[in-house]
Amino acid sequence: MTRARIALALVALATGIALVFVIAREGTESTLDAALGVAIGWSFVASGLVGWARRPENVIGRVMVLAGFLRLLGDFCAGSDQPVLFPIGHVSHSGFYVAVGYVLLAFPSGRLDGALSRWILVGGGLVLPLRLAWFLLSGEDDQGNVVAAVRSSQGAQALAWIETALDLVILPLLIVVLARRWRHASPRLRFALAPVLWIGTAGAGLFLLSIADDNLGNPLGDIPMLLIDLVLAGVAVGVLVGLLRSRLARSAVAELVVELGQTGAPGDLRNALARALRDPSLALAYWLPDGGRYIDVEGRPFELPAESEARAVSVVEREGRTIAALVHDPALDEEPELVESVCAAAALALENERLQAELRAQLSDSKQQKERLQALIDSSPLALVEYGSDKCVRLWNPAAERIFGWSREEILGHDDLPLAPPSKRAEGEELFARVLAGESLNDYETLRQRKDGTLVDVSIAAAPITDESRPVLGNMVAYTDITERKVQEAEVHRLNAELQARLEELRASRARIVGAADEERRRIERNLHDGTQQRLVSISMALGLAQAKLEKDPAAAGAVVGEARRALSAALRELRELSHGIHPAVLTERGLVAALQELTLHTAVPVELALDGTGRLPEQVEAAAYYVVSEALANIAKYAQATGARVQVQPVDGKVVLEVADDGVGGADAGRGSGLRGLTDRVEALGGRLWFSSPPGQGTIVRAEIPCG
């Protein structure tokens, strides 16, 4: 290939020299024009050959070589005196312009992007047949246009207009596209595009100027064409500059190597690479093999962007291992060898910085862990306290401040187990020693003291703090404030005890009720035995006696029978009283009010009854109420020395309230006799209560409330 390019260069050289000679001999054009044309042709060929050599895969170099030859050929044909070459010259020139247009649109990649670019080239391409057709119709050349078979000045004129119109469309579009490319180009691309685009834009503008000049009768003369030629030469130069700039970038690798020796601070390497690659937007990401992810130079996670028009990613490997990734301008993809050489040069530095980044990432992880731990300690509801092996408080969290009252500043450095109250000092010392010896404690309930000396119930969990190298460094202790729980426990105990006491009372009351019933039965049995039965037996004996006497002494027998009849009456009365004592029939038949009225008929002291609103009540309630009144009245008769008593019974809120009051001497003892105790049991068995009040000298009041439910 190199040989082919040398050959082409020689051909171009020869052609150019030939052209100058031809023009000089023929005198058709000024030598300046000829020299200018040759210079343009050579500059394109030369730039094209350089580009071709550097980028064999890029079509631009070849297109430029083609453009150069087309220019040389066009000028040669135009300058020759052979009329047959004229049309070739015209077409060659048109082709040259199209080729230049392609270079402008496709630089630097050699690829056309966008439909508009393609249409512009197609439009430019149309000029070639137009120019040929025009040439055939115009017969412009006085020296004899051999191909001008059909002359038609009108047709030629029309074609000229069409071509002008086409130029007027294409050239502004070209300017627009170039401007747009500039605007959308990344910094890296702008850097390469700048000379080419500016010169190209200027050329297109000058073309428009020349068209205007043509149509205005050439007031500017040859100036526009001269300028155009200068600009066109500039395009070649611009491309060459662009290429040279790449060359400069390559030389930047060498600078990079020097710079790498001086990098130190994080980010220096990136800056050096950005300069070497001329991509200020460059970003570096380092591979973290352990985490399987990329991090930035500070060790922070780095997410590689998806490949796009804006960003491209190149992975850097060293000895087969991924070490980093470059996130860069996609324009750099045009210069893979540059990227490669830069990366190769920087590989060691990258590896080095990767290791530093990895270290930073680890440090950052452990810092995060530490922060998390700190947050945990600060937010824990447990009082967390760390003691050194010398008992010195080393850690004191906010919960500890809340529970014990000491602020962190006050307590840190205390070395005498300040939380152990005097009563628990020995225990505290012992626990401390046990944990220091390696034991862990859990749910150990004890007392600790606050700053103000008050005690607080706590549950302790403690563990020794160990380290691989040394035995035990200290104790970590967590205190839970269990005051509330203790209060609740105490409450539960209290309630239990109360319940127990009530059950005990109930049991005792039941026993008393049973005992009282038994005692009552015994009393009745004795009454029957001693009273009624004896009487009946004696009556029976009297009748036996009467029977024995009946025949011998009827009068005596009659007397004995009379005696027996009286004894029988007495027995009946006793029996009636006895049965009334067991349960007054009137209570069952007529109710409490009637029973109380009857009861108070024969009392020793006058009794005032207030029974308003009292109707029939449940049987048990009536019985209890009756016996309360009856016992109270009996006590009054026995002990009170009263002149009067008052019995009040009234229903209140589903209860019956009884009150028996006297105006006696008072001072009665509630524990005296079992009567009152038995009544209390009886009333309480029904869910009621009985009060007793008997201050000396102020009479006695017995009051009972019995629910009627």
């Binding site: 035995h529 004896q534 037996v537 004996m541 036996g544 006696l545 029977q547």
Partner: protein, 216 residues
């Protein structure tokens, strides 16, 4: 015949004294408690002591204890214990040390002057008297397992009850209008059926029968 009375109820004591007087007994002393009774007995040496079983201070079985005391001191004095209630256990306790001259009678029967007089005389003569109601209760009380009493004939059962009441063969014969010889045959059959060892002694026989009735 000289009699001493003990009962804490004056009413009964007086009534009983009048009855005994009417029946021709000589009431030589009255007592309200066991203590007084013993004093009266010591002082008067009666032929028979009539004792209420229930007296002060405990109102339970003072009569039985007083009877034992009298028996210990004066084995020849007949003792008739009166009880308001049918209490076989007291009756058996009374008779446990020997049945001779001892009686247990319900107070209800006292008004029947003939029965009272005959009972007093029987204990005075050394016989034993056990109230028919007590015997009936012993005989008819429910027993666990097959009741050997069911094997007895109607007549044998009558004889058994009279035996238990302390009657002699002669008395049983008179009561049932059968010969003494027939009574002996019945007694032999009864004792055989109930597997009670035969005994010539009437008193031992009564005790054996009572013990049998009480224990099975």
């Amino acid at each position: 015949m000289r009699v001493v009375l003990a009962d804490d109820s004056l009413l009964l004591r007086e009534g009983l004294a009048r009855l005994l007087d009417e029946a021709g007994f000589d009431v030589v002393g009255q007592a309200a408690t066991g203590e007084e009774l013993l004093e009266q007995v010591d002082a008067t040496h009666p032929d028979v002591a009539i004792v209420d079983i229930r007296m002060p201070p405990t109102h339970t079985d003072e009569g039985v204890r007083a009877a034992h005391e009298i028996r210990a001191r004066y084995p020849s004095i007949g003792i008739l214990v009166l009880s308001q209630f049918v209490r076989p256990s007291y009756a058996l306790e009374l008779l446990s040390g020997g049945t001779e001259g001892l009686g247990y009678m319900l107070k209800d029967r006292v008004s029947d002057l003939d029965q009272l007089a005959s009972s007093v005389r029987r204990v005075a003569e050394g016989e034993s008297v056990l109230d028919p109601l007590v015997v009936q209760q012993l005989v008819s009380r429910p027993r666990s397992g097959p009741d050997p009493l069911d094997e007895l004939t109607e007549r044998e059962r009558e004889v058994l009850e009279l035996m238990a009441q302390g009657r002699t063969n002669q008395a049983i014969g008179q009561q049932l209008y059968i010969t003494e010889h027939t009574v002996e045959k019945h007694v032999k059959n009864i004792l055989g059926k109930l597997r009670i060892p035969t005994s010539a002694d009437d008193h031992r026989r009564v005790l054996a029968v009572l013990t049998y009735l009480n224990s099975t």
